[in-house]
């Protein structure tokens, strides 16, 4: 069973902030939706089960 909070297409996404690893810098960081919006960027969120998996 997946947990459904479930934002639907067409709705505004609430702000979020996540910790990151940035391969191009070889360093850790953080990013928020507020920052991405301020930079006028399109965002693709790409969820996957776990690192070191296969598909």
């Amino acid at each position: 069973m997946s947990e459904h909070y479930g934002i639907r297409v067409g709705e505004m996404v609430p702000d979020f902030k996540i910790e990151t690893y940035e391969p191009s810098k070889g360093d850790f960081g953080a990013i928020s939706l507020t920052e991405l919006k301020a930079a006028k960027k399109w965002t693709v969120l790409f969820f996957y089960p776990a690192d070191f998996t296969f598909v």
């Binding site: 996404v13 191009s24 996957y48 598909v55």
Partner: protein, 123 residues
């Protein structure tokens, strides 16, 4: 995005040769707060499903696609959707048909004339 920590992201990206050229930012969501927000956290497995979400610069969710654990995604199709979204955000009275691939390809502008004549509009 996964529920792995940023430390595991680093280790995976450094060790797996297939990820040598990765430039995208790897997000860490260890308490599944974000994957729950998007409805892709599988409680029994304790893992995220393969969900893809495209968010506009205004913060609106424009696309959502979720695959089960064992089915990979077609990155070309995701990029096509991003290109189409960028085009449609600037031309909101148009529609991108299924076979639209890139800027310059034919779009549709719904009108009375086109009803029942989409075949000819795409010619």
């Amino acid at each position: 995005m996964s529920t792995d920590t940023k430390f595991v992201h680093l280790a995976w990206q450094r060790d797996e040769k297939m990820l040598e050229k990765v430039k995208y930012i790897m997000g860490s969501d260890p308490n599944a707060r974000l994957s729950k927000m998007f409805g892709v956290y599988d409680k029994e497995a304790g893992l995220d499903l393969r969900g893809t979400f495209i968010i506009s610069p205004e913060g609106k969710l424009m696309n959502s696609e979720v695959n089960y654990f064992n089915l990979g995604r077609n990155v070309e199709e995701i990029l096509r959707k991003v290109r189409a979204n960028i085009h449609l955000n600037a031309h909101q009275n148009e529609g991108c048909p299924a076979k639209w691939q890139k800027e310059g390809d034919k779009t549709l502008q719904p009108s009375a004339k086109m009803v029942g004549r989409v075949f000819y509009a795409l010619e």
